[in-house]
């Protein structure tokens, strides 16, 4: 399960990991994918990936922020992409109950013009 949740910096690192096993002769791009070494834990070890995937934790749980309020624009803006979209949980690591409150607060903030519906705030 933990293998699925990639850190924001993961995609470039994953690409580096795939190109690593050059010893395999056929299909270098699909090389490490071929054998499928049963299950998650075997995969990264065989690929010889060196990057460390930090386990993500919910910011709200760690800092004990319980009140997720639509008025706190600074806080909410951290979880809104540049396009104005709400950043998904798998990227930020926010836990489900907090993401629920967060998305609600962001939507309320959008309604009162504290956050943009799309694009950056002018």
């Amino acid at each position: 399960m933990a293998e699925e949740t990639k850190a924001p910096a993961a995609p470039p690192a994953a690409a580096a990991g795939e190109s690593r096993p050059e010893g395999r002769p056929e299909r270098a791009d699909r090389g490490p994918r071929g054998p499928r070494p049963g299950g998650g834990p075997g995969g990264p070890r065989e690929g010889g990936r060196k990057y460390f995937r930090r386990k993500k934790v919910c910011k709200f749980c760690v800092e004990k922020i319980e009140a997720v309020n639509y008025k706190d624009v600074r806080l909410l803006a951290q979880f809104v992409a540049e396009s104005g979209k709400i950043t998904p949980r798998r990227l930020t690591g926010v836990c489900t109950p907090h993401q629920r409150r967060l998305s609600k607060a962001i939507k309320q903030a959008r309604n009162i013009a504290l956050l943009p519906f799309s694009g950056r705030a002018q």
């Binding site: 319980e66 309320q108 013009a113 002018q122």
Partner: protein
């Protein structure tokens, strides 16, 4: 049945202070007349995240009400009628404050137990030793 609400509204940036104060005081008096209590907080001029009624800025006012739902209905009606108000939102807050109070109580109780018996409570705060920043 008293509940607590927050009504946040935005007025045009070119509205004079005295007009704004007059508007707020009429709103407050209408709330107290209908059997509630009101507090207001003027945030001042702020940039809007998007254009509203062709304005890029607005004066934000936060209006906190305690009382039955009819009070909110009256305030919203008044806001809708007032032309200087370009946007408003009503949020019910009593359930959230109740939830927060409950959490706070639990935390305080836990703190007290840890003070009384420090030995068993020590592993609680430091379960995640790694520096965690998202």
């Amino acid at each position: 049945m008293n509940r607590s609400y927050e009504v946040m509204f935005i007025v045009r940036p070119d509205m004079a202070d005295e007009d704004l104060n007059k508007l707020i005081s009429t709103l407050e008096s209408s709330v107290t007349f209908a059997g509630g209590t009101a507090k207001s907080e003027v945030w001042g001029k702020r940039r809007l995240a998007y254009k509203v009624a062709k304005f890029n800025d607005g004066i934000f006012v936060l209006f906190m009400i305690e009382g039955p739902g009819a009070v909110v209905r009256e305030v919203e009606r008044r806001l809708r009628v007032t032309e200087q108000v370009i946007k408003f939102i009503t949020v019910r807050t009593d359930e959230e404050t109740k939830r927060l109070d409950k959490i706070k109580k639990i935390r305080d109780a836990r703190k007290k137990t840890s003070v009384a018996a420090p030995a068993p409570a020590t592993p609680e705060p430091g379960t995640e030793p790694a520096p965690t920043t998202v």
